[in-house]
Symmetry: C2
Subunit: 200 residues, 2 copies
DNA sequence: CCTACCGATCGGTAGG
DNA sequence: CCTACCGATCGGTAGG
């Protein structure tokens, strides 16, 4: 009665493919992802990749979603037990810098790379990424506002502080990945804490 | 005695090609640049493109160098008559934000896009970009140190302020290009001035 | 999940 | 600068 390939097996295969796709796309970009190269890396045929996803476009989308989940798991999930406030924001900053310094993606922050790659390419991939980045920005702004509410004021607008923190993450990513500057993580952490008023 | 194609004509053709290559690469990335697409856009044959450059690799390198020059001409060159100090740094910030808000590249800041694309791709293109970015960072750090010397202290390390300004430029670029947020330029300008201690 | 194959496009060359 | 062409690789399909 058991089918030749169970649903669980199919899900595992799909997961293997999408994880390998994320690794490839991190180095070569989502447009650099090719079925031939990926199939070779996995010891599969191209048809074996197209099967579970239908097309390269859908595999790219699955890889983008998976990358968003990797970021969440590394930076956001560990905060789950802390209430909003200065300590939680400090932990967020520490986890973010650690994520950049010891990155789960071989080519550095996937979302930052995808943003630069896709911002000028209209289509579903760009729109999905826009939603992911906009949601991250909103939740970052909320974290900052919650911390400011417990800290002595006056404060800069939370949106402005969110832009500074997001920018510092991108600058640190460049310093780590392109410039290979070993002082980047410590400098980013100090600048992020300062921008968030956490050491005054 | 005059050759069928003068050196001046050859230089003009080369320049036309490299400018079109920068436009294409701004939208599609340096790896997305193809001889076929570029030839069609210019009404030329592929062989006509390869001639002046020798290979696609060398055309990519020429486009990267040209992009660095476009940035210099837009942001650095207008400062030539000002001595180092707070006013020159303020003008640099204004020019930088204006460059991002009304960008000479169709896909946003070329250097930022190239950084994300090339940081995981070893090779001459990556090394050239690394030199360009490192030189920009050094000159930015010098501008900041010169301004700090004329402003009441104490000051944060100039390297840290340079990281904040570079990061704010990347964040603003993302907000403009991907998020299409019309408040991005004003917020970036305020945050950059604040980071540089120019409005205290 | 495989092999075998499709038309299109890639970077590049030969010859003029 | 062109046309004509090269082998390689692209995403994807047919059939099993």
């Amino acid at each position: 009665m058991s089918p030749r390939h169970s649903a669980a097996e199919a899900a595992r295969t799909r997961d293997r493919i999408v994880r390998a796709a994320v690794q490839d796309a991190s180095r070569l970009g989502l447009e650099g992802l090719t079925l031939g190269t990926l199939a070779q890396r996995l010891g599969m045929s191209k048809a074996g990749l197209v099967g579970p996803f239908g097309s390269r476009d859908r595999l790219q989308m699955a890889a983008l979603d998976q990358a968003g989940e990797v970021f969440r798991a590394a930076v956001i999930a560990p905060l789950v037990d802390l209430p909003p406030g200065p300590e939680r924001l400090a932990r967020l900053i520490d986890g973010w810098v650690e994520y950049l310094a010891d990155c789960p993606f071989p080519g550095g922050c996937f979302i930052t790379a995808a943003s630069a790659e896709l911002d000028g390419r209209p289509g579903p991939l760009r729109e999905r990424l826009r939603e992911i980045v906009a949601a991250q920005r909103r939740s970052l702004t909320e974290e900052i506002a919650a911390a400011q509410a417990e800290l002595p004021g006056p404060h800069r607008p939370a949106e402005e502080v969110a832009t500074v923190l997001a920018g510092l993450a991108m600058a640190a990513n460049q310093e780590i990945q392109l410039l290979e500057d070993p002082s980047a993580p410590a400098r980013a952490r100090a600048a992020m804490r300062h921008a968030a008023d956490l050491n005054t």
